[in-house]
Every structure is written in structure tokens, then in C-alpha cells.
């Protein structure tokens, strides 16, 4: 059912024209349309569901004053007819009332060749999903519920498909459209009176590639691994961190990588004496941590969309093209998150935030199973949970193992192990990575509400700090 009364492109054009009429010196307008469908289940039955349509109009008005350039930002979901006039006036009034912006810069003018598709598709309608996206998944779930019930297992989980269409227009002539598909499918299995628990999940752009039976098989394999349980004390263990666990740790590192904060001396990437650690070797392995809007299967928005200025974003950078960016290359820190303003301030290149993250060791080919086979004695984790910063100085994070810790002996998984609380820094882990497997697409367990596009390897750490035991199961 189409309910959009006014096309978002028309709202953008009208807002830009109004902003000019009421005296704004520049303006960026972002219209976003979200279409989303979800299913949730627990204890082998569907629980909640939803079909969501929403939209948001954000007007960023720029005003030149005697003291400098100011910005005003106003966002509204209701933006038809007279409401648009009120929104634009509010943004311009806010800009006039605000003091000059530290990050003021001329708005982006040319979209460039890299954004030809985004420019050419401007006139296209917003993309729309529906419950039909689950037409294969829902019956497969029903089958899985039946077989689980029969086998004394319980399934819990969530499936969501989002299509966010962004229209970005500016007074400098940018007209960019992008459709961002995001999807996630997560399955948790419990058995033996909920004493065993295992998780598996996949990210997807369209759900055509979501194989419920395959995900369930992964869950079952892990529940079987835990048929025998051993209790182990806290301590430092040789540990295999699988791709989803590495993703959650590296995403935290990425979120902590604002150049401005490092330059101010307040992050793990600050250099004693001043400046940042860019150029410093973080790992003896030639690890490559990077982002790329064009990464196959992980494609994301190829231009900046910023609703607020912060240490790592600037509303003046809206529409700035994004390209492949190396954060760490050959084990060396190469870049931190910058805006045009903070790049100038810190003397670093302009490398804004990109919505995907890949960690790889060039040439690495080992699968998780091969790394298990190569383990004399160690722990295998399934995923991590409740990761929070303890000390920004070292980026020490705490958190817990969840839904599967296993003991590997003589190249085989021999038992399930109790959960642990860990205290570790992802920056330090890069230094201590003893072995790195092949990178694969993975769904970050903890951060997938915000971040679903990641490719990560399994990493062997010789001395992962399992600080205290957790009785959770």
C-alpha cells in the first residue's frame, strides 16, 4: 500500500527553494523513507511481528553571519504542505540563533563520477519491502519449530528486512539517492531445560540467500558440542575468536577511532606528547582493517549523510563521496575517522565514517574448522555480549561469552565450557593475534542493531583474558 502523498524529491526541492526564499545562504535537505518488516519468535512459536513505514525530513540550514557560518538542523516525520514551511523556517531560525560552527566549510558542489548512479536514480521512488520477503523463511521456521519441539529443543530469534531510501539535495546542486538494504536473521537454540544455548546468525540484503535449515544446523552442531560440559576456572586461555566475535570487537575499535578525540589526547589512538598514533605499527601481522562502500555483498552508502556534527561527522560534509579506506594496512595504523574540518585540524587525510568494516590477513585461507583442527588445547568462543568500555586509555573492554564456549583438545571440540567475563582491548588483541583465518561475511552478534555489514576472520589469541566465570547458560 503506497501512502506517500508527496514525493520525497518534491519535498526536498520545495525545502531548498523555501530556504533560499527566507534567506538561508546554503541548505542541505535529507529525506529518508524507511520500509521495514520483522518477525520474532521464542520457545518454538512466533511472538511479535511488524510492518513499519516511516519517513524523516531533515533540513540543515546554513547562514553566514558577521562572526562566521552557522548551521541549524531540524528533523520531522510529518513534512507535507504547510509543515515544510515551518520546518525550513525553524532550521533557518536555529542557524541564525546559533553561534558559528567550528566545522563550517563550503557545501559539497560536484557529485563526481563515483556517484553517477546515485545522481541518475534521483527521480526513482522509495524502495518498499513487505512481509512477502519472508515467504520462504516463515514456512521454513515453522518446520524448524516442529522438529525442535519433537527433539526437546527450543528456538528463539528474529528476522528483519529494512529498506532505507535516502534523498539528499543541496543548494549547491547535489541530488543524490541511495537505497540501503539491510537484513538480519538470528537463531538461538536451547536444549536440556535451557542449560545449553547456541546462536548463529546471517546478514542479508534481500533474504533470498537466507537458508534457515543451514543456520539451524549450525545451532544444532553447537548444542551437540556442549553435550558434555566441563567447568573451567578464569584465567588466560588460548582462544579462537570466530568472525562474529571479531566483528563486535573491531566495530568498537572503529567507533572509538575519531581523529579529533585522538588528537585531543583522550583515546587509545592518542600519541603521548601530542598528535595521533597514525603511522604506528599496531600488529606484527600484516593485518588489513578497511571499509569500502563497494565491497562485494557489503555495499553501503557511497556518500556522507550527516544529521549532526560530532567528533567524527560534519553536517557540512553531506554528499561527500566515500571510497575504499584503509584504517590499518600491513599492521600499521593508516587513518582515523575524519571530517574535512578535523582532517585539517589533525593533518590527516579526509576519511569519513563508512558503514561497513572488513578485517583480513592477505593470503589467509584457513576456515574455522581448520583452525579447530590445528588446536592442541584451547577455547573456542561462539559469540560475545554486553561489551562495554572500561578504560578508554587502552580501550579496555569488558563483556561476556554467550551462547557457546567450547573446549578444543587434540584438534577436536570435546566439551562445552561455562561462560566467562572477559577484559580485553581490541587494539591489544591485534598485536597478540597468533593466527588469522580467512575473512568471511558475518553478522555481528551484539552490534547488529546498528551495524550489519562486516567481514572478519577467525583469530587465534594465545592468552585471552577470561577474568571471572559466569554461571549464565
Amino acid at each position: 500500500m503506497r501512502t506517500t502523498s508527496v514525493a520525497p524529491q518534491d519535498t526536498v526541492e520545495k525545502s531548498l527553494a523555501l530556504a533560499a526564499e527566507v534567506g538561508a545562504d546554503g541548505c542541505v535537505v535529507i529525506a529518508q523513507e524507511l520500509s521495514s518488516a520483522n518477525l520474532r519468535w521464542a520457545g518454538n512459536t512466533l511472538t511479535t511481528n511488524g510492518l513499519i513505514r516511516s519517513r524523516m525530513l531533515t533540513v540543515i540550514a546554513i547562514v553566514e553571519g558577521a562572526q562566521g557560518t552557522s548551521a541549524g538542523v531540524v528533523s520531522r516525520t510529518r513534512a507535507s504542505g504547510e509543515q515544510v514551511v515551518a520546518i525550513v523556517r525553524s532550521a533557518v531560525d536555529a542557524a541564525r540563533g546559533n553561534e558559528p560552527a567550528e566545522d563550517a566549510a563550503p557545501l559539497i558542489e560536484a557529485a563526481g563520477d563515483g556517484l553517477a548512479d546515485a545522481t541518475a536514480s534521483w527521480a526513482d521512488e522509495p524502495a518498499e519491502t513487505s512481509m512477502a520477503v519472508f515467504s520462504e523463511v516463515a514456512p521454513a521456521l515453522g518446520t524448524a519449530f516442529d522438529s525442535s519441539r519433537a527433539a526437546g529443543r527450543e528456538l528463539f530469534g528474529f528476522a528483519e528486512h529494512d529498506l532505507t531510501t535516502t534523498y539528499l539535495g543541496s543548494s549547491t546542486g547535489l541530488r543524490l539517492r541511495h537505497v540501503q538494504p539491510s537484513g538480519r536473521f538470528e537463531l538461538t537454540g536451547k536444549s536440556d531445560g535451557r542449560s545449553r544455548s547456541a546462536w548463529a546468525g546471517v546478514a542479508s540484503r534481500d533474504f533470498a540467500d537466507v537458508d534457515v535449515a543451514a543456520v539451524e544446523a549450525q545451532v544444532r552442531r553447537r548444542l551437540d558440542w556442549a553435550a558434555r560440559q566441563v567447568e573451567l576456572p578464569p584465567g588466560r586461555y588460548e582462544t579462537l575468536l570466530p568472525p562474529t566475535a571479531m566483528a563486535d570487537l573491531m566495530i568498537y575499535l572503529y567507533w572509538s577511532a575519531a581523529a579529533r578525540d585522538a588528537y585531543d589526547g583522550r583515546t587509545v589512538f592518542s600519541k603521548p606528547g601530542g598528535g595521533t598514533r597514525v603511522g604506528e605499527t599496531l600488529s606484527p601481522s600484516p593485518l588489513w582493517l578497511h571499509s569500502d562502500p563497494g565491497a562485494a555483498g557489503l555495499e553501503c552508502q557511497p556518500f556522507v549523510v550527516a544529521m549532526a556534527s560530532s567528533a567524527a561527522s560534519s553536517v557540512f560534509d553531506n554528499g561527500l563521496p566515500l571510497g575504499p579506506t584503509d584504517w590499518i594496512r600491513d599492521g600499521q595504523l593508516r587513518a582515523l575517522l575524519t571530517t574535512r574540518h578535523t582532517a585539517a585540524l589533525t593533518g590527516l587525510p579526509v576519511t569519513p565514517d563508512i558503514d561497513n568494516l572488513l578485517l583480513e590477513l592477505p593470503g589467509a585461507t584457513q576456515s574455522l574448522d581448520e583452525m579447530i583442527a590445528g588446536t592442541e588445547r584451547g577455547l573456542l568462543l561462539n559469540c560475545l555480549w554486553y561489551i562495554r568500555e572500561v578504560d578508554p586509555q587502552t580501550l579496555l573492554l569488558t563483556g561476556l561469552t554467550r551462547d557457546g564456549v567450547f573446549l578444543v583438545e587434540g584438534g577436536e571440540v570435546v566439551a562445552g565450557v561455562n561462560n566467562f567475563r572477559f577484559n580485553e582491548s581490541p587494539v591489544d588483541l591485534l598485536k597478540r593475534a597468533a593466527e588469522v583465518g580467512a575473512a568471511e561475511r558475518t553478522l555481528p552478534r551484539e552490534w547488529n542493531d546498528w551495524f550489519t555489514r562486516a567481514a572478519m576472520p577467525t583469530v587465534r589469541v594465545p592468552d585471552f583474558n577470561m577474568s571471572t566465570p559466569s554461571p549464565a547458560s
Binding site: 521464542a42 528474529f158 561462560n419 591489544d428 559466569s470 549464565a472
Partner: protein, 506 residues
């Protein structure tokens, strides 16, 4: 005097839209249908080193329709507010229920609630923060930042203001219609001190809690009776300087005197989430997690020492989870969760209340916007003070070797709410009943029932403070909720203290 509901919200076609959705849902065979029309106004102002970094003004309005058809939920939401759109959204919700029905094995039935026709409720605040000029807000935050920046050894200051005005209109087929309005505000200021040579840095953040109050609270009109901003800002530079030169803690077991500015978060994680019935039953097992406090333990589980009395409520003035009616039309209540140290209650919604044989829901259904389905969410969950109990100073005097913990910082707890680890803004070493100075690198870690079992002293009402947060996350799709936790100061015996530098392998 309570404010009136904002006329701009009342002027939306609330009843016409709700009637259109409800009658279409009834016509299509829904046994239950409810409609929410929500408007969420928000503003976030950020100041960096005394300069405006960003000011964002947002407003989200939309419609939500939830139905029960043939014992199965269906939900749809829309950004459009015309009777036609509402009827169409209701039809979508019914269709979603019909698609879901074949994979639903648990018939949805709801606990009874008296109808509340034409009910209206507004939270307690004086000044609507959305009526205050931006320049006044930015000016106040910049002034507070500059006061700190003027001090020696403070290199950076971040200040933020978050303000929310939430309006909800709710109507259901049973005849309840509620119109509500509430306001919440939070001003947070963090100072950073950097030792340029060594690269070592420390931070200290204001411990002023967020509150269900208006601009008067941020401005400090009611002074120390609500929060004494000037006093807090005046002492921060010296406190931060002391923290930077403080000795690193020796790990081991210590008696902890925990200030309510820290304890609220421990209550939130280890009692608040653990007494959510949806977690205890497993509905959150794949995401937020479950609870060690399973339903079979109701009335039996020894949660903590007999001093422990924890209530749930949606009534406390200025509480962030305080409402007149929840998102299923259930009137606000107060009840016990833990009494004399024993688990005696849960947080309920209407479906789970019926499922587990309770007469009535205690009103814990909440959705964070019209885009989302109501979940069982936390009410204000508070540890009651001891009538006639001691002051914080008196409790410190009774501790031989311990640590006094002030202000929350890092937090983490496992998926069943057993193992937690918290840090704080300030840790003071106590020896022989006296505070001898701050310690660095402290984290306290425990298992929930061990920790609450080690509660040996409870402060009096004079130590009681409402803490809380805006950002409690739960559910898929993810939803945020604001919640308050009242707590007195309290003493816990022999708690495990970690040294975070040593934990990092240094």
C-alpha cells in the same frame, strides 16, 4: 500545577484516526485492537570545549495499530494520520496476524483491565524545555563548560543536553482512551585532563541524574532540593586532579559503601532486568537474555539480605518511567518485587499476566514510538531506604577497610543477570572508618545474589536519590526506554575488586 496537554497534539485528528482503525479492525475480525498515536519531540545540544558542536531538533509523529486475530498478534505502523491511512494500517495489522497465525503456537489472551474512558495525564514539571530559546540552552551549557575549562589541568569539556516531550494517545476496542504528556531532561558534562608528556588521561563526568522534570531542573531554579549544579561544577576540577594522581587499587575483597549515584545502575541491571517476566519466561532469550529469577522461584528465591526491599512503580513524581497509563491502557501502580530479601513480584503486561494467572497487569507495557510494538518494559525499580537509617558518613565510619563508590560509568552483566562488573566516577579508599583519598583503576565485580546477600547496611531516607537513564535497550527491533531507580547509600561486605590496568595485562 500540572500543565495541559499541548494543544498542537490535541489538534491532531486523534479520535477520528483511532475510530477508523478500530472499526476496521473489528470489522476484519480482531478480538482486540489498540491504536496509539504518538508524537515525540526531542532536542539534543552538544557543546565541545565551550563551543556549539551540534543542536538537533527532532519530532516524530505516527500511528500504531496492534490487533489480536484468532489468538495471534498483528502489528503495523504508519507515518500518516488520516482516517483512510489508519483504516489501511489496521487492515495491514490484521493481514500480518493472519500471515503469522500458522506459526503461532501460543494463543494470545489478555488480562482484564477496567476501561478508562477519556483519561488524561501530564507529568510533573514547571517549564517546558521546548519553550526555552536555544540561545539560553547553549549559553548555559557553554557557561558551565567554560567554568571547568578555566581550571588548571582541565583540557577538554563535553557538555550535552537531551530533552524529550512525549505525547501518547491510546484507544482500544474495550473503550479506554488515554491522552498523556511527559517531559524529561538530562544535562551531562564531562571534563578531561591529559598529561601531555606521559599521554595519561582521566575523565570525570557530572553525576547529576536525568529527571522527569523541566528546564527549571537544568537551570537549577530549585537549587539543592533537586540538584546543586554550582556545587558539583565547583568541586569537579579538584576531584579530577586528585583522581589523576591517585594510587592504583590493590585488587582483592573490600567492603563497599555505594552511593545512590552508582547503585541505581547496579539495581537496574541486577534487579530491574532480572524481574522482567518476559525475560524470566524466555521471550527475550535470543536478544536481551533471560533471567536467573525464573517463575518457579517466585516467593522462594533468596535474592539478597533481609534488608532488601525493592519496589516497582509508575507513580513516583519525576520518575522517568512514571505514566498515568501504560501502552495497554493499564493504570499506573506500585508493587513489591523483592521483600525482606525474597523475590515476590515481576513486571507484567496484560498477556503475560493472563498467561501466568495474575488478576491484572501491573502496567509495564511500553513502546518507544509508534513504529514499535509495546514490550514489557521496566517501571521505576527502586531500593527502599531504611526508616531511621544512617547517613552515608555514618556508614563510612563503620567500615574498617573499604571503598566508597560514587557515580556510574562502565557497566556490563551477563545474559542471565548473574555476573556483573561496574566502574564509577570516583572511588575513595576507606581505612578505619575514614576516607583517605581516591583510588584509580577500580572495578567491582560480583554475582547478583552474592552481592545482594552481602548487603549489611542500608542508608536512611536522607541518602535516597533518584538516579536513572534515557537509554535502556531491549527487544527486536530495538527499543529504548527511560527509567528511574531510587536508591539510598548502602554497604556491601567483601566485594571482589579488580584493577582494570592489571586486567588489561599491563
Amino acid at each position: 500545577m500540572r500543565h495541559d496537554i499541548d494543544p498542537a497534539f490535541r489538534e491532531l485528528p486523534l479520535r477520528a484516526v483511532a475510530d477508523a482503525a478500530l472499526s476496521r479492525a473489528r470489522q476484519l475480525g480482531a478480538s482486540h485492537a489498540d491504536v496509539r498515536i504518538e508524537r515525540l519531540k526531542s532536542q539534543v545540544v552538544r557543546i565541545r570545549d565551550g563551543r556549539l558542536e551540534s543542536s538537533n531538533d527532532g519530532e516524530e509523529t505516527g500511528l500504531a495499530v496492534r490487533v489480536v486475530v484468532d489468538g495471534t498478534w498483528g502489528f503495523a505502523s504508519s507515518a500518516d494520520l488520516t482516517p483512510d491511512d489508519a483504516a489501511g494500517t489496521a487492515a495491514q495489522a490484521v493481514e500480518v496476524a493472519q500471515i503469522s497465525q500458522p506459526v503461532n503456537a501460543e494463543r494470545v489472551e489478555l488480562a482484564e483491565e477496567p476501561a478508562h474512558p477519556d483519561a488524561s495525564w501530564v507529568s510533573a514539571y514547571d517549564i517546558d524545555p521546548f519553550e526555552v530559546p536555544d540561545a539560553e540552552k547553549v549559553g548555559l551549557l557553554a557557561d558551565r563548560s567554560r567554568r571547568l575549562l578555566a581550571a588548571d589541568r582541565i583540557d577538554h569539556v563535553n557538555a550535552s543536553l537531551v530533552q524529550v516531550l512525549e505525547n501518547k494517545f491510546y484507544a482500544d476496542l474495550a473503550g479506554t482512551t488515554t491522552t498523556q504528556q511527559r517531559v524529561r531532561v538530562h544535562n551531562s558534562i564531562e571534563a578531561v585532563s591529559v598529561d601531555r608528556e606521559s599521554g595519561r588521561f582521566e575523565t570525570m563526568r557530572t553525576i547529576a541524574p536525568p529527571a522527569g522534570r523541566g528546564w527549571e531542573y537544568i537551570r537549577g531554579d530549585n537549587g539543592a532540593s533537586a540538584w546543586d549544579w554550582d556545587a558539583e561544577l565547583a568541586e569537579m576540577p579538584e576531584l579530577l586532579a586528585e583522581k589523576l594522581r591517585a594510587p592504583s587499587v590493590q585488587p582483592g575483597r573490600y567492603d563497599l559503601v555505594i552511593d545512590p549515584t552508582n547503585l541505581w545502575l547496579t539495581i537496574h541491571e541486577s534487579v530491574g532486568h532480572a524481574t522482567e517476566l518476559d525475560r524470566a519466561l524466555g521471550y527475550e532469550a535470543a536478544y536481551a537474555g533471560t533471567s536467573f529469577a525464573t517463575f518457579d522461584k517466585l516467593g522462594k528465591l533468596r535474592y539478597g539480605s533481609p534488608l532488601m526491599h525493592v519496589t516497582g512503580d509508575r507513580l513516583a513524581d519525576h520518575g522517568l518511567a512514571t505514566v498515568g497509563y501504560d501502552d495497554e491502557g493499564v493504570a499506573a501502580q506500585q508493587w513489591d518485587l523483592v521483600r525482606d530479601g525474597v523475590l515476590v513480584g515481576y513486571q507484567l503486561d496484560r498477556r503475560m499476566a493472563r498467561l501466568k494467572g495474575f488478576d491484572r497487569s501491573n502496567g509495564c507495557a511500553y513502546a518507544d514510538s509508534s513504529e514499535h510494538v509495546p514490550l514489557q518494559r521496566m517501571p521505576n525499580v527502586s531500593l527502599q531506604p531504611l526508616a531511621g537509617g544512617p547517613s552515608t558518613e555514618e556508614m563510612i565510619r563503620g567500615v574498617e577497610r573499604g571503598i566508597y563508590v560514587v557515580g556510574d560509568k562502565s557497566w556490563s552483566i551477563d545474559m542471565q543477570r548473574y555476573n556483573f562488573q561496574f566502574t564509577g566516577q570516583r572511588f575513595y579508599e576507606i581505612r578505619g572508618g575514614r576516607i583517605i583519598g581516591q583510588l584509580r583503576d577500580v572495578a567491582y565485580q560480583a554475582t547478583t545474589t552474592d552481592f545482594w546477600g552481602s548487603l549489611i547496611a542500608l542508608g536512611g531516607p536522607q541518602t535516597y536519590i533518584l538516579g536513572g537513564a534515557f537509554n535502556c535497550g531491549k527487544g527486536q527491533p530495538g527499543q529504548v526506554a527511560a527509567v528511574t531507580h531510587g536508591a539510598p547509600a548502602a554497604v556491601f561486605q567483601g566485594v571482589n575488586i579488580l584493577n582494570t590496568t592489571q586486567e588489561g595485562g599491563r
